[in-house]
Symmetry: C2
Subunit: 385 residues, 2 copies
């Protein structure tokens, strides 16, 4: 394929993971920017902030006090988007009723956690060592394990995994009251991504329904597997390693790429090289290598524009409760969606055309990958105090 020319012409690229297209206009970054500028972030935060509801010992919104935790600390979100108990709601579906076709609703229950990455208010993942991040990965693994359905095909793997991880006093969670379907682990980092507290943390929303995005991916991965006998991301990993131009970094177990179909300017995907279906499927060595990959991505991001780089990130893996072959069709990966485009203060807005017609990007994923490859090494800044 004559790939070079895609640096110069407008084109669409196809995202096989969700089955949709986006528009790429490589020449468009030349336009001057006169719009909104973000605040460049400078880390002047204290290690402990008495006003922060996530710091150890402090009081939270509903009056409860946080324990004196060391690194990870999990609690149920005081303003959860979904709850475990609520009034019953059933929709009668009369097939001939227009309202039941056009005003469809279904109840959603679940549990939402907040999970801190560290006791230190002024850290981000990029400031943490791979060992520190490993503790976070281990906590994710234990939380995933405690929500799995009794009939989950990865139950034995989970038991092994949990055994190999030391318990974390403040991040153990109770099993949910009803079996839940999916666990979405995600982080909003930076004010530009709607984060209201810089204390390093993620959220974990666990729901009785399979959400749209992982649902679409699972459907596309299943289709591909049935049609071609191999896994979509298995083929994709091999292809990208062979091509090289979109690869940002890799170790033995994980590949970091700017995917062919990236929407956000410096969007990145961490993909397992072997068939890992969920967090509980990883060996201790794989967990460490995954932690290294997360560290590499977040450091390179910060180095790129010499700022604390905003992003939303999240893990896609097997559902907590699997139907049919869903566990086997799943392929562990982590998305990073960062909004910055040209500098610490100029972001890409996904607005009018993007919302109404189709996502549009300016630089190519190949250009983004080349820049992120060049950002390796130590973190550009030192921590205050």
């Amino acid at each position: 394929m004559p790939d070079q020319i895609l640096d110069d012409i407008s084109h669409r690229r196809y995202n096989p993971l969700i089955g949709s297209w986006l528009l790429v206009s490589p020449h468009r970054t030349k336009r001057p920017w006169q719009g909104q500028q973000e605040e460049p972030s400078e880390n002047k935060l204290p290690q402990y902030d008495p006003e922060c509801y996530l710091c150890p010992g402090n009081k939270r919104a509903q009056g409860e006090a946080n324990p004196q935790y060391q690194n990870t600390f999990a609690f149920v979100n005081d303003y959860s988007a979904v709850k475990e108990e609520q009034q019953d709601y059933t929709t009668e579906t009369k097939s001939d009723d227009i309202a039941s076709r056009l005003l469809r609703a279904q109840p959603v229950t679940g549990r939402c956690y907040v999970l801190t990455f560290s006791a230190k208010h002024h850290l981000t993942l990029a400031d943490m060592t791979a060992r520190d991040i490993l503790t976070v990965v281990e906590t994710w693994t234990r939380i995933y394990a405690s929500h799995m359905s009794p009939r989950h095909p990865l139950r034995d793997r989970a038991a092994q995994a949990v055994q190999s991880i030391p318990p974390s006093e403040h991040a153990e969670v109770d099993p949910a009251r009803h079996q839940l379907r999916y666990m979405q682990i995600f982080e909003n980092k930076g004010a530009a991504m709607g984060c209201s507290n810089p204390h390093p943390h993620c959220q974990i929303w666990t729901t009785s329904t399979l959400p749209e995005e992982p649902g679409k991916e699972l459907a596309e991965m299943t289709k591909y597997r049935k049609q071609h006998g191999r896994h979509l991301l298995e083929d994709y990993v091999k292809l990208e390693i062979a091509k090289g131009e979109r690869v940002v970094w890799q170790n033995e177990e994980f590949l970091v790429v700017c995917p062919w179909w990236a929407i956000w300017p410096f969007e990145v995907l961490i993909i397992a090289k072997q068939h890992i279906r969920a967090l509980v499927d990883m060996s201790p060595e794989e967990r460490l290598q995954f932690a290294e990959a997360v560290q590499e991505v977040t450091r390179r991001y910060d180095n790129l524009f010499k700022t604390s780089f905003p992003y939303s990130s999240g893990i896609h893996q097997a559902p907590l409760d699997c139907y049919g072959q869903e566990a086997d069709m799943s392929w562990f990966h982590m998305h990073f969606y960062p909004p910055l485009l040209r500098s610490a203060t100029v972001r890409k807005f996904l607005v009018g055309y993007e919302l109404l017609a189709e996502p549009q990007r300016d630089i190519t994923p190949e250009q983004a990958a080349a820049r992120l490859r060049d950002c390796g090494g130590e973190l550009y800044r030192e921590l205050p105090n």
Copy 2:
């Protein structure tokens, strides 16, 4: 259906126009907001700004000077996302080649316009009379007409429409060099929506491909029509008028609703009550009524938080070049996606969970509609000078 309970419980709603779900968490607005605040907008703009590249007589990026136009003025975007001429690019598809399955691209050509709504720098649609907005609607109609394929089933309607509209000296455009497939008219208003120039204007991106969103809608509308004999939006309009709780405003020809499946807090849909397939399908009276609907929406938005309300909006209608029954399956409507949630400075971020899992909203569309119903009447502010 026991709708009342949906004010209290978390649930998902289905969007039949694009075939996907979103999460609604009505209780969630109670959480305090400590994150990013938007600048409240206060209109201190001059009628004419010598630095604005859209004001009459001023020079644009590439050195060309704008004419002394009165209201609408159209020109090809100096930094177009797509262009009419570019190097050829064809992808050979070898069905057994992994790269041709996973690295799919197709060329996109087209033409992007910028269109001003008024010569006055300090106006917005909300400040304009329905007659002023009618001129904008007329210009959209003429521009759509001059890009239609020779075999378009609405050609005769277009000829009639164009005859009934006085030409606008500075907003006439040449036919495209190659036949294009779709025209996306959209407006990004306000810094929060990535707008880099407050001078009232929209963009019109015209492409050789049918973009994702109107493509999905067309597919769902076609499916519905084949299955139920009626149009999806025809049924939906009747249903919403009968129910009333999501209706914001209506006149004889257009309905303004907060749709059942709204994602953005105060998202609104203007829907034609009769079967209007595209702009060129409207009578002069319908164009005026559409202009009134746009005015009602934008005024109510500004009145809601007493600010110049940011949004992205856009029109969905029949493609410029229609295959099979596409023209007949199309139903004219206009989306408004505004980000503000609680005040002039606190917005809703569609970030982590929304990007990784599924869109999530806090207040219900019924609550939003009730508030927008109460915001009618005159615009809360007067224009400066």
